[in-house]
């Protein structure tokens, strides 16, 4: 029982992060390898805001999300847009460079010390017994609920709003959209904003549950196989992929070898790449575009 709870909780974190990868990839065909670092940066921003506004999580969290979204928009205009027309991988490497800069800056600004967001936000992470041999904490429930809510919201956004439709159109064929007289860069920037916003949600939840320190960025790198296994262009694929990867990881830890925990997502990824390289829900054409 606890096993499955652990899988679902871990999957919810992965799904939140994978959503960011997918949003960004759909928008700008870029794999954002700084996603984990941006998630960490958002968490540190939350930490700083929380030091100014202690115990007011209702103010801290929206402020953090807003700030993170603005950072996302800024990144698109400053670093990604100038890379248009250049080899795709160059843009990916720009995100890698960005991640390295963030790692350095975080240490410079916030020191390498471990911080606890939960204390600052005055959140008590209580344990709830779901069944004999199966407990879950308040924040873990929050993580699952938020992940599901976010995916529902994104699905609605892409189906019913004009901007959502435009973003789908831009994902499919940006030049055609430009032909219709729409500045797709603005749409891409919005997508980046949304993506970094979701990263901030994941970051705040994850670091409140666990700890805030420089190594949490690693979880971003581990979530990236999730996005690929699900299909880089497919939001719907991210949910089952997150469950699959989390299942593989938790199984590896509990039944095979704990040291496999970092490797497990990538083993799943390799298997997926060999069997179904376009992902669970992607289409083979996706491969041609990369």
């Amino acid at each position: 029982m606890q096993f499955w709870i652990n899988v679902v909780v871990l999957a919810s974190t992965y799904a939140l992060l994978a959503a960011g990868y997918v949003l960004i990839y759909r928008a700008s065909r870029v794999l954002n390898l700084a996603h984990g670092e941006l998630m960490m940066l958002a968490a540190y921003l939350a930490f700083s805001i929380a030091t100014v506004l202690p115990k007011q999580s209702l103010a801290v969290i929206p402020l953090t999300l807003l700030l993170a979204a603005l950072i996302g928009v800024g990144i698109y205009y400053l670093f990604i847009r100038p890379m248009a027309g250049r080899p795709l991988f160059s843009a990916v490497l720009v995100t890698v460079a960005m991640g390295i800069v963030i790692q350095g800056l975080v240490v410079l600004v916030w020191t390498p010390r471990v911080q606890y967001l939960a204390v600052l936000l005055d959140i008590v992470n209580q344990s709830h017994q779901l069944a004999p041999g199966g407990a879950i904490s308040t924040l873990d429930i929050a993580s699952i609920v938020v992940a599901l809510a976010l995916f529902a919201a994104l699905a609605a956004f892409f189906r019913y709003t004009r901007i959502g439709l435009l973003m789908r159109a831009a994902a499919e064929n940006p030049l055609l959209l430009a032909q219709r007289g729409i500045d797709f860069h603005r749409l891409y920037a919005i997508a980046w904003g949304l993506a970094i916003g979701t990263a901030a949600v994941a970051g705040v939840l994850y670091t409140t549950t666990n700890r805030l320190e420089g190594t949490v960025a690693l979880i971003g790198l581990k979530a990236f196989p999730v996005a690929l296994v699900g299909g880089l262009g497919s939001l719907a694929g991210a949910l089952p992929a997150a469950l699959l990867v989390a299942l593989a990881e938790v199984t590896a830890i509990q039944y095979v070898d704990p040291l496999l925990s970092n490797v497990a997502p990538f083993v799943v990824l390799l298997a997926a790449l060999l069997l179904r390289p376009w992902g669970l829900f992607g289409t083979p054409e996706e491969l041609e575009r990369v």
Partner: protein, 641 residues
């Protein structure tokens, strides 16, 4: 793009070396450099010697990665894993069998080649980012296996490697190491230089520049991709093996993902594709932290802040890497060439070397036909809604796709731009609608005026908003949206409600099928329906000039005729001007007022549509025969290019 940049660099450097007065000065310099190199270990302190050795080691790894990234255009994120594989091969062979260096190092290279082969296998199926990602997976797997070996053999602090012995000679002194490593790095350099001269090397460059093009000229993609992986991996593991001996230990912590990034940065910062670049990049990345330490310690910062040196280093490394990617993708070598060029311009002996622009330096074609005044140069530009003058477009700075083309489209007319496949029609249309900057092509000369305004350099969406709207050749609708959604995302820019209503009514009248299919995904529409949806979407923008690219493509002749007629009706009803780009000349000439015929990028004939239609020679020479006989496969390859 990068290849011809590299070529230019080579040419320029070559030319400038000839500009030097004789070779003697260079000869002296070379001897001096050699003497400096030989004396180096004896004139610097041990720490610097260590640094130089590390740079020599790193340059082997960087040269190896350059083969993949710089030449074959294959991205690998498994570089640290391959270095680790080499180092662990040495470590394990020493730990288990006490193997000597002349067995371990070749074995490590062999191990690298084997891993390279396995990692290269997915490249048969995967491209670009997906391939990079599969090599990233390799990284985590190798690190895991190394860690497993260390833990299960209780090698807490890594595997200790004794000084290597070759017969009676034991390599322990760092000075001796310097010569060995410099020699190894030199060998790697010579190997790289020669590799590029082989058929394989040239095939890699072709592969990097364009997969499909390479396969079209008969390069066996799979074999060459695999070869690139195997050669690069073997070299990398060789470097890893030497590193193990040099460092005296192998520990899995040393092979972090950041190490991979450092090597990628070496290639990028030095200059991708350049051998000198890989070496300079290696030196730069290895020496950078020391430079930062030096700067920090000379700034007399309080010792408490020492804690942050590493973070400063880290951030600075990221900034530099990003900076080169954004601002100088050619790397340090390109930067040096540029600075060198500036410097050379100041030297009295230097002669400026101008690369000759490819292409013919002749003026625009003299047109004799002046049958219709509005279409000829005689009339003033304001009469023409679209005026293209002397347009030249080149691909990758070399091949000319369009050569000094001048066409005019008066308001209210239908003008056809005809020609066989590859004649440059679509390129012209893309130049007009502002799509070129997003591709490898660019406008090298000429002007495009729309309603008297210059369009050059405007983004596609700006051009569309100014009233010149394109109905593209393919991918003309959003397949994942419904018909209704396709129409709803078009911003209606019509000035008055009346006009907007008129547009909607026209669409409802002339494209009734769209009404019926409005809930359907556009991806499921038939070819004709797609064309109608695309035209309707374009009309919603209230265009003054409608640019229609290959309306007939893939449609039945009867349907083509019907759509052509529809265009004529729309022109009348909505007061449109239409530029029609067509392979199907007969259908286009039926509704056009005037037509231009292109062949290999140049204007070969123009005239009133009726005259051209009647001209049998025109049909035979430029329109019919050659185009229709092209096989589908050939066409597909060209269109992808």
């Amino acid at each position: 793009m990068a290849m011809d940049r590299h070529k230019k660099i080579g040419q320029k450097a070559h030319a400038s070396s000839q500009a030097w007065p004789g070779l003697r000065r260079q000869g002296i310099l070379q001897w001096l450099a050699l003497a400096l190199l030989l004396a180096f270990p004896f004139i610097v302190n041990p720490f610097l010697l260590d640094l130089a050795n590390l740079i020599a080691l790193a340059s082997i790894g960087a040269l190896a990665l350059n083969i993949l990234i710089g030449w074959a255009g294959l991205i690998s994120l498994g570089h640290a894993a391959l270095l680790g594989a080499g180092a662990f091969t040495v470590g394990i062979m020493i730990e288990e069998f006490g193997a000597p260096i002349w067995i371990t190092v070749p074995a490590a290279a062999g191990m690298g080649a084997a891993i390279g082969f396995v990692v290269g296998l997915p490249s048969v199926r995967l491209k670009g980012l997906y391939l990079a990602v599969s090599t990233l997976a390799l990284h985590f797997i190798v690190v895991f296996l190394g860690g497993e070996y260390q833990t299960h053999h209780n090698l807490s602090t890594g595997i200790v490697i004794p000084d290597p012995a070759l017969g009676p000679f034991v390599l322990s002194d760092r000075r001796a190491w310097f010569y060995v490593l410099v020699l190894a790095a030199a060998a790697a350099t010579v190997f790289s230089v020669n590799l590029l001269r082989t058929r394989t090397g040239r095939a890699w460059l072709a592969l990097r520049d364009r997969d499909i093009a390479a396969s079209a000229i008969g390069v066996n993609l799979t074999a060459y991709k695999l070869a690139a992986f195997v050669v690069s991996a073997a070299m990398t593991s060789f470097a890893g093996a030497l590193t193990a001996y040099y460092q005296h230990f192998v520990a899995v912590e040393a092979f972090s993902f950041f190490l991979t990034i450092q090597y990628v940065a070496m290639v990028l910062v030095g200059g991708p594709g350049s051998i000198a670049g890989a070496i300079v990049g290696a030196a730069f990345v290895i020496a950078l932290p020391q430079g930062v330490n030096l700067a920090i310690s000379s700034l007399s910062v309080p010792p408490q802040l020492k804690i942050y040196t590493f973070a400063v280093n880290y951030a600075l490394f990221g900034l530099l890497m990003g900076g080169f990617l954004l601002f100088e993708p050619g790397g340090l070598v390109r930067l040096a060439v540029r600075l060198w060029g500036r410097l050379e311009a100041l030297l009295p002996t230097a002669t400026a070397v101008e690369l000759r622009r490819p292409g013919r330096a002749q003026g625009p074609l003299q047109l004799k036909d002046d049958a219709m005044a509005a279409f000829t140069t005689a009339s003033s530009t304001t009469d023409c809604l679209l005026d293209v003058a002397g347009l030249t477009v080149s691909y990758s700075g070399l091949a000319l796709a369009v050569d000094h083309l001048s066409i005019r489209v008066p308001a209210g007319s239908i003008v056809a731009l005809l020609g066989a496949n590859g004649a440059g029609k679509t390129t012209t249309l893309r130049a007009i609608s502002g799509f070129l900057p997003t591709e490898t092509a660019r406008i090298t000369s000429g002007t495009i005026r729309f309603d008297g305004q210059l369009l050059d350099g405007l983004a596609p969406d700006r051009i569309a908003r100014s009233g010149a709207v394109l109905v593209p050749e393919r991918d003309k609708i959003f397949a994942t949206l419904t018909v209704e959604q396709n129409l709803s995302i078009v911003p209606t820019s019509a000035p008055s409600g009346n006009r907007r209503a008129a547009l909607r009514e026209a669409i409802a009248t002339y494209f009734p099928i769209l009404q019926e299919r409005q809930r359907q995904l556009a991806g499921y529409l038939s070819g004709g329906e797609r064309q109608q949806l695309a035209m309707a979407s374009a009309l919603l923008r209230d265009p003054r000039l409608l640019l229609v690219d290959e309306l007939s493509l893939g449609l039945a002749p009867a349907l083509v005729q019907e759509l052509m007629r529809l265009l004529e009706v729309l022109r009348r009803e909505l007061a449109l001007t239409i530029l029609l780009v067509e392979q199907n000349a007969a259908a286009a000439l039926n509704i056009a007022d005037y037509a231009y015929i292109l062949s290999t990028g140049r204007l070969v004939k123009q005239g009133p549509a009726k005259e051209l239609l009647a001209d049998a020679a025109v049909q035979e020479l430029y329109l019919g025969v050659s185009a229709s006989r092209r096989s589908y496969r050939q066409t597909a390859v060209e269109q992808r290019q």
